[in-house]
């Protein structure tokens, strides 16, 4: 049962730029919460199927028909930075 969380790695995965103090604080808080949550580890649930959804629905589709789009100006008005018709961001460090 993992008690030692690599909180720095978790923060990187979650793209939250925490400093060392914050990392330490969140790390220990998470450990406490997880110990509580991890009580369900002890349950023998091998024979139980997981439920992803409370609703037993399937095949909720839409027809392939074009619908309305948003007004570009209204959308770009919310952008923290824009250049002409584009959203603008600082340069990428990594490639996908």
């Amino acid at each position: 049962m993992p008690v030692d969380i690599d909180i720095a790695k978790v923060a990187r995965l979650a793209r939250i730029g925490l400093d060392d103090d914050e990392l330490a604080r969140y790390g220990s808080q998470l450990e406490v919460i997880l110990e509580h949550a991890a009580r369900i580890q002890a349950l023998d649930l091998d024979a139980v199927r997981p439920t992803a959804h409370p609703l037993p629905m399937v095949n909720a589709f839409r027809e392939d028909e074009p619908g309305t789009t948003l007004d570009r100006d209204e959308v770009l008005a919310q952008a923290p930075d824009r250049e002409g018709p584009f959203f603008r961001v600082p340069p990428f460090l990594e490639e996908a």
Partner: protein
Amino acid sequence: MTYEAVIGIETHVELATASKMFCGCPVDFGAEPNTNVCPTCLGLPGALPVPNERAVAWTVMLGLALDCEIAARSLFHRKNYFYADLPKNYQISQYDLPLCTGGHLDVEVGGETHRVGITRVHLEEDTGKSTHLGDTGRIHAAEAALLDFNRSGIPLMEVVSEPDITGPEAARAYAEELRSIVLALGVSDAKLEEGSLRFDANVSLRPAGSDVLGVKVEVKNMNSLRSLQRALAFEIERQAEVLDSGEPVAQETRHWDEERQVTEPGRSKEESSDYRYFPEPDLVPIEVDEAWRERLRAGIPELPAALRARLQGLGLDADTARVVAAAEGLAGLLDDTVAAGGDARVAANWLTGEVTALLRRSGAGIADTPLTGAHLAELHAMVAGRELSATAAKEVLAGVLAGEGGVRRVAEARDLLQISDEDALVAAVDAAIAGHPDEFTRLREGEQRLTGFFVGRVMQATGGKADPRRVAELVRERAG
């Protein structure tokens, strides 16, 4: 040391649906930036996805065309990673319950058929586009990036092959065949240069005969079939050199540089991605029952391999069959020709030769011309009946394509009809013989090539309209 290459290819196919995968925004490649967007494909707060039924249907059809098992129950999953052109910072994709698994694609390389396994075909959404401002237009040393979300949310099919591909030629053949199937199904434009068809490859080497897999290198950015082939050839050679020098091959992602014709390492990431896949809670499962699956199967048109086989059955040789099958509209025209009583092989030669050349010159597509199977059948009948020479037939084709009218009309208008009337031919031959008794004597005595002389005289006298073959026959008959 000889190595064998082990190659797997991942293909992304952008679907030509009318609307996006999870929202009603139009799929329209020429649009102004950020005009085909809505809360869902922009990742606005509160937005929700609703799947496009046609995209699901088309994915199942491709799976069926590749002989895959279609999952009775399939799920969308969230693939979580942060990237500025991915508005929700997760992509709705499929993980361990994709729509299609376990198929295969037969590929011909050097006259041999080779079976490439298909691991899976699944459905997901495309990302937006980023343009990097700076000198090179690449990520390196850019000053900023501009984002356009028109492409965000367009349906994307991903086809993953087993690592059964053995070399660059086989890879190209696989890619071409997959592309032709996609085109036959009508689910995508499949244009590599526009990005509606994308290939990534995984390449590793192992000592010939070994069954231990080597280190895999991912190769991206191959924007044409030729680049695919060249990139793989380069990469195989590069890895061989590395191994020969005693070094291990680094597991990495490399990009093909078309200008320099090399693969280059990409930006290394800090750590390998942990996508934290979990079932998409905003969506419910997909169940493809037997009825739906069989309806989709019934809707699959004749696929390229089947078409090629059928064309060969009609008498075409393998190469001609391949060309006819691959070209838009030719097979249909050929079928119409046969239905109208024409000869498939003859028509195929005209289509792949003269007609294709004429179309290339005019820039038109076959569908834009008035040429029909009936025309081809009639043309063949006139050639067989000696009303037209082979050369004249090509001219008639040009006339029909240009809209000058039907076959006979064009032949008459352009004065191309041969004289095939036997009496007229006999008269002309006898006249030529009478006019050149010395030559005729020499022919009678064995100078065979003088047959051509008399044919020439008859052609001149008839203004080129005599049937040269029949004339030659008549001359030879008289010569004894």
